[in-house]
Assembly symmetry: C2
Homo-oligomer: 241 residues x 2
Amino acid sequence: MKGTLYGVGLGPGDPELMTLKAHRLISQAEVIAYPAPDSGQSFARSIAAKAIPPDAREIPIVVPMRVDRFPAKEIYDTAAGEIASVLEAGTDVVTLCEGDPFFYGSFMYLFERLSDRFPCEIVPGVTSLTACASRLLRPLTSRTDVLTVLPGPLDDEALRPKIEAAQAIAIMKVGRHLDRLKALLTDMGLLDTAGYVERASLPDQKVFRLADVPAGSAPYFSMILIYKGDEAWTLPPSFSS
Amino acid sequence: MKGTLYGVGLGPGDPELMTLKAHRLISQAEVIAYPAPDSGQSFARSIAAKAIPPDAREIPIVVPMRVDRFPAKEIYDTAAGEIASVLEAGTDVVTLCEGDPFFYGSFMYLFERLSDRFPCEIVPGVTSLTACASRLLRPLTSRTDVLTVLPGPLDDEALRPKIEAAQAIAIMKVGRHLDRLKALLTDMGLLDTAGYVERASLPDQKVFRLADVPAGSAPYFSMILIYKGDEAWTLPPSFSS
C-alpha cells in the first residue's frame, strides 16, 4: 500500500495557531518535508519545530530566495522524486506548509507532481488573511461584503478597478511594492481605511495604520487590509507595535 | 482590572481543526459565550464541546434562525450587557466562533458593542474557504491569482462581472440560491470549473462537482469554488461523498 502525501497547514507563524490535527500528524510523522531557503532557517520548520520527532527523516526542499526564478522546476522535480520513493515504500510524508497549503502556497508544486499517483490529504490552516485582520482588531468581512484578495505585484491599472469593486480588500506580498501601493490607495482616497500588518502573530510582528508605515520596502510576509463596507469599521488611531 | 473579551475561531467543524490556542483558552475558560439557535444545538458549542470545562458558566446568545431578521439588535444588546457585567467584574469571556471571528462571523455584533470599553483579543481560525478547498483537493489560489469571495445572495448582475474579473472565486452561503448560481455559471461557461462543498470537515460533509449537485436548495454552510487561473487545475471526475 502506498503512503499518503499530507499537505499540512501550520498557520501564520505562532506555533499555537497550528491546528490540533496538524500537531498530531507532525508529532507522529516518520518523514517530514518542507521548503527551506538556500541560507538560513526554514520558516515552516521553525513553526513546527517543537512537534517534530527527533528521529523523523527530514526532506528540506531548498529553493533559492530569488523571487524572479521561483519556482525552480528542477528543484521540485527532484524533491517530488525523493518524496515519491518514500510514498512508494508505503510511508506517509507530512509536508509542512506556512499558512494553508492551498492558499498561495508552494505546496501546489509538489501536489501537481504527485497527486495523480498517490493518495493526498490536505489539512487546512489559519491563513495570513484572517491572522492579519485579528491583529488590526477590525473585522475582515461581514454580511454581504465582497472580499477580494490581490497580489501586490499586480500593476495599478489591474488593481484599481478590483479595489473599487469590493468592500473588503487584502493586498498580499506587499514587499518592494509598498510605496507604489500606498500612493495608489492615497490617490483613491482609501489611505485612512487601510491597515498594514507584517509577520502577523510572530514575536517581531508589526501593525500600523498604512498612513504611518515608513516609506521603503516591506518584507514578503506583509499585507495591506482595506475595509470600506457599510459598517465603516475604523482602525484604532494608532498601534503600539 | 477588566476582563478580556476573546473572540475564538473554532474552524469549519471538525474539532481537530481548532487551533492549539483556541483549545487552551476554551479549556481554561470560566465564562463561555456562543451563538445558539432558538431550537436545537449550538454549532459553535458542538465543535468545542469536549474542551469546555464542566463548571464553566455558559452564556448562549439565542438568535432566531430566520435569515431575514438577522441580526436581531435587541438580542445582541442584551447579550453584550450580560457579557459586559462579567468583564467589568474582571473575568475574561471566551466567545466561541464558527470558522474565524472576523470572516463573515456574528462575533462582530458583540465586538462592535464591547470593543471600545474592554480589551479584546481575536484568535483567528481556519475558515470555510480553505477547508472547502482542501475537500475538493484543488488549490484555491496560486502565484498572482486574484481571489474574490462573493455572498450567494447577491444578484446575477452583481456577481457576473466579479466572477469574470478573478481567477479564483468562492461563493458563500449558497443556500436557496443554488439553482440560480448553477444556471449563472453554466451560462458563463464555468460549470466544469466549479466544485461544491457542504458542511466541510463534518461527518456529514458532501463534496461534488457543481454539475453533479441535485437541483434544489443547499444548506447555509455550503460553498461553490471556481478556479480558472493559468494552471487549469481540474477537479477529480467525481467525488465519493
